[in-house]
């Protein structure tokens, strides 16, 4: 992903992409996280004020790259 910043926090004018397992919910033990559905595959997006088309395009190109790397879907 190029557009959102990969960081902690939320609610800012710019989009922020967080990884709860290592960031906001790192203080919660793994089994407690899993109980709540906060898996290691979960990402949290704080949607900013950028143009939504640009963000959607960014997701598309990023997911496209994943597919090209031939990781099992």
């Amino acid at each position: 992903m190029e557009l959102p910043v990969f960081a902690v926090s939320l609610g800012a004018v710019e989009s922020i992409l967080s990884y709860p397992a290592k960031m906001s919910h790192a203080a919660m033990p793994q089994d407690e996280r899993e109980k709540r559905g906060i898996k290691n595959s979960l990402l949290r997006l704080s949607v900013g004020l950028e143009n939504p088309d640009d963000i959607i395009n960014d997701f598309s190109q990023s997911l496209e790259k994943l597919a090209q790397n031939q990781l099992a879907f």
Partner: protein, 372 residues
């Protein structure tokens, strides 16, 4: 290439890689260490260049589609910096309906050093062309004009300017690059009183210049540094902070202004509403000059003040405030009469604003009734 909303929301992000700071740092230092002679980091002295100010300058150049940006200590400082490009004997053609401060700088400032300005209604390109002679070096446009809200055809005028080899300078304060990008329409230089919409929060005094073309940019850079009316690092940062929500704010300003223009057009106490259909600025005339003071005393939500472009609504009385420096006869003849009020419509709830206008106009009506 990203859309303008996106560019604005992310101003300054990723500018610093040492720590990954999202919000850009403010560099206060006036001096920069060199390892030896001729070994500069690119920064020598704050007046010439400052990393925080440079970020702002690159940002506005990108937003306006220009080659280079220059951040100044005020809108007037921005105009002053542009004026240093010219010399004694040069002439300018300027929008007749004009901010009083610009008029003052030209008539009481640069005129005595040999710069002559001709004021025409720039809504008529032929009137502009008429005034061009061998001494004309630039056309200075406000569009829409302050405060009569008249729009000029930038593209048409830019063609005339190019034909005659003269510069086209556009004051884009009212519309901002969100609504209008003069360089894309053929202008050479764009200026902003960034104090207004760009800052958006009535908390920073600043001016911006953007230019297109190698020679113009080099000359501006030379005078920007030479005259030194540059914007401070903290103010540069504060301005960028405000600009992040510019797109969002302009949308609300416009939605509100449209609703209010409609409301005022239907009110019996109002004789004219001047609104170009976009943006957040509009002007209107009360039926009687005598009602102005009473009206201004009775608005509660809307503030009677100079300036414009902030989140809160302001009403200004050009006759005694923004256009007080224009000789009365000339001012009234041009349409900026004593019944005219200029409204910078804020981002409050439109209904609340309309209710405030309603109650103030009702009080005026009562007052008039009592007097009669």
């Amino acid at each position: 290439m990203y859309k303008i909303d996106t560019k604005l929301a992310q101003i300054g992000n990723r500018s610093e890689t040492a720590t990954g700071t999202v919000n850009p740092p403010v560099y206060f230092s006036t001096a920069y260490r060199h390892e030896g002679i001729g070994r500069s980091t690119g920064f020598d002295y704050i007046r010439t260049g400052n990393p925080t100010r440079q970020l702002l300058e690159k940002t506005i150049a990108d937003l306006e589609g220009g080659d280079q940006g220059f951040a100044c200590s005020s809108g007037m400082a921005a105009i002053l910096t542009i004026l240093s490009l010219f010399q004694s004997g040069d002439e300018w053609i300027v929008s007749e309906d004009l901010y009083g401060g610009t008029y003052r700088l030209l008539e009481q400032g640069f005129k005595k050093w040999g710069l002559t300005s001709h004021y025409v209604n720039t809504c008529y390109p032929e009137k502009v062309e008429e005034k061009i002679n061998e001494n004309t070096k630039a056309i200075f446009l406000e569009t829409p004009t302050n405060p009569l809200m008249q729009e000029a055809d930038i593209e048409a005028i830019s063609k005339i300017a190019k034909q005659h080899g003269i510069l086209l300078i556009v004051d884009n304060t009212f519309y901002t690059p969100v609504l209008q990008q003069p360089i894309q329409l053929g202008a050479d230089i764009v200026i902003h009183s960034a104090t207004k919409y760009l800052g958006g929060h009535n908390d920073v005094l600043a001016g911006l210049v953007v230019a297109k073309g190698k020679e113009v940019c080099e000359a501006l850079a030379f005078h920007h540094n030479g005259a030194g009316a540059v914007l401070s690092p903290f103010d540069s940062w504060l301005l960028m902070r405000g600009m992040k929500t510019l797109s969002l704010r302009m949308k609300q300003h416009q939605t509100n202004a449209r609703a209010i223009a409609e409301y005022l057009s239907n009110h019996e106490a109002i004789t004219d509403v001047l609104y170009p259909g976009q943006g957040g600025m509009l002007s209107f005339r009360l039926k009687e000059e005598a009602w102005i003071d009473l009206f201004l005393q009775n608005i509660r939500l809307i503030t009677f003040a100079e300036s414009l472009g902030g989140t809160e609504s302001f009403i200004t009385y050009p006759a005694t405030q923004t256009h007080a420096d224009i000789p009365e006869e000339k001012r009234i003849a041009s349409g900026v009469d004593n019944r005219l009020l200029r409204f910078s419509v804020g981002i409050e709830d439109a209904e609340d604003l309309i209710k405030d206008l309603e109650q103030a106009l009702a009080k005026v009506n009562e007052g008039v009734y009592r007097l009669n």
